[in-house]
Amino acid sequence: MPLYFDAALPQIPADRIKPMARIWGGTSSMRKDQCIDCISKGLANPAQVKVAIDGLEPWQRNALALIKRMGGVIDSHNLVVSIMMSGIHLPLKYEYRNSVIDPLFRKGLILSKNSYNPGSLSYSYGDNLLYSDERLLAQVGFPEIQPLNLSPIPEPGNTLVRRSSTVTLDIMGILQTIEKIGGLRLTQSGDVRTNDEKKVRKAMGWDEKGVEIDGFFFPDLIAAWVGAFRYSDLLQLQDNNHLFVKESPEGFALRPFSEQVRLLMEGLIRSNSWREMPTDNYYYYGIGRRQGRLALTLALSALPLDSDAFFSIDDFDQAVFDHIGEHFTLGAPPDPPYIYSKTIQEKKQIMADWRVKLRANWLKQERPWLESAFTTWLYFLGLVELAVKDGRVLGFRLTDAGKGAFHPELLTLNRQAETKILSADQPAWVVQPNFDIIAYLDRTSAPQLAFLERHAERTQTHPHTANYRLTRESVYRGLESGTVLADLVDGLKAGAQTELPQNVMVELREWASLRERIVLRRSVCLLEFTSTEARQSAAKSMSGREVGDRFLLFEQKPENLVWPAGFKFDPINYACSLPKDLSVTEHGRIHLRHALQDLITADQLTQWAVSVSASEWQLTAESVSTQLKIGRKITELFGLLRDRSVHSPPPLLEIALHSWAGKTYQVELDSVVLLLCPQEQLFSAISTSPTIKPFLKGYLPPNLLLVDVNHLESLRLQLNWLGCFVSDQLRILPLS
């Protein structure tokens, strides 16, 4: 569904919608319906939208760009913080939230997702989602961020940075694991199932609490990246409860590195479940963290691009505070003090005191979070190089990947250069005779890494090397993904620093030839002739390959096959249901009425039943149990019979089949003499009589008594004495 304003406009009160129409040429004398019409027509006209966008103030246009960056929908407070961080805004009034948001409403640039009141904010704070019309956003570019005024620090001695190939390997590793476990299942509330998270964590060998990476503690890596994948473009939701890997991990590795990390960074900004600091237990819903991450990335975008200088964390932190400190905390946003009815001097003092207090709180709470952001996801993704002293981060600079990620507007320019570097086939690994490959990460390009991931098993990753092993399975997997043997060998040779060992070459050829020994064809067309002669005659004018005595195999789709003029055939399509041409008796005799003989039914029946003739089979306990013993289910047989029988299988046969499959049905059978007492009074008198009781074995409700055959004559005498008329035959009703 496109995000358009049109459906929400009628819900907006007249006094709110009139100012919104002005940008589209509306006037205050217009009625509400005329205003709606005016806005809808304006938005539908790209030329008019362009004029409207060009006429906006820079900060308004920038607000739209920020909304676009977040995918068209943004939390109201997130928008406020982003606008403040961009440094492009109106001079602030006391009620800063309204002074930022309300003009955008009045201009008709944003609406609230609240369907009852789309024309204004319902709350001054909260998870109040705002959106803009897609047609407006289509004509704005990237957000503009005023550069931060930071002075470089001297080049530090000790720095840490993650190599792009190491980052790519980690990301691919997680994606491959998600792919291997068949995707991530979601709970009813939409969270990733804990069990699936555990599986990924176990496969990656990462502790639940966190992992030390180059001396920095990264809490719960899996939660962080599963969340990031989920909110990036890498996983696809199916049936509302299952996330699948959208693009193959190897395909992902072929994207320019800055694009890879930018995708994950954008996903992480939107993710609310993971927290940078394990001790951060206060902010369950993560709204503050998301605001903070977006503001942080905007601040990093404000660093000079043409510089390789390091900046101090202290200076950076101060600059971020100066921009957003009055509007943002990880918890609830700060409330300005009450200054009405105060003198100007008093107001100034109150505000100054408030700012001092804010800064003190910031240093306790937001500053440690900011440092953690640097040492966790910014470092892990290779976006920053950190200057470290005594285990503390003193400064940082953006890596090339960081510059690319924080400036997506440069991605088109960078892509060409990056692709050029990546596609180089330089020697990057050594293939050993024991099939191990040692890849030197400083020399391995992303396509080369993707190549190794596709054809070999990664066994270990170190900071500077990654170890792989060529196995029969890994080579098979690679060949199945579309590589031919010659390309595999060429790729290995191109990346190898030395000649490929001869035994490896021999074994690769052997593995490839083994794959040719059995071929599974998922969907072919097969033309069956009545005789070998008929096929030979027809084959002269057809492209199919001969199979057996009477068949021609075609690898094309039926619609692409060209038949000789006048050639006629009967089609059987196995992708559709086959006709119901079986009849089944209570005794398990199956009769196949051949309208058109297919190539599966007779053999399917022969698996479950004994073939009696060309068109008859007999189900037996033995024939059925033979199939069950190899692990097949009786439901398969029921499925076959139900799908293909003219009538449902007889209930008695169903009982027999279930019994043969191990289900127990208990019945009781015995020879008894019954005494039927139709009258209740008589039944009660006899069944409770001390005289007659010894002649009886029991009763069947409601009126049958079971007689002990040894006392049959004694009972008869007693009944005669009672004066009962004793009939020798029960009145039995026939079964319907």
Binding site: L479, V519, F529, T530, V547, G548, A575, L599, Q607
Partner: protein, 69 residues
């Protein structure tokens, strides 16, 4: 059957050596997926069972080539 029959969307297994197919038919766990043997080296695979057969073949140490057609 008076005129030819076109069997569409049929799954097949094709082997390089007829002994391979003999072995597969001799293994009941494998044979459950195999239906009509069209020739010494080609057999029909039960509809919808290609992936199950593939899994079974891989478990048995085979590395079959899988083609869409």
């Amino acid at each position: 059957m008076n005129q030819p029959v076109l069997h569409e969307n049929l799954s097949l297994i094709e082997v390089a050596d007829d002994l391979i197919l003999d072995d597969l038919y001799a293994d009941p766990r494998m044979a459950q997926y195999l239906l009509t043997r069209l020739s010494k080296t080609v057999a029909v695979v039960a509809p919808g069972q290609v992936d199950a057969l593939l899994l079974r073949l891989l478990k048995s140490g085979h590395t079959p080539k899988v083609l869409e057609a």
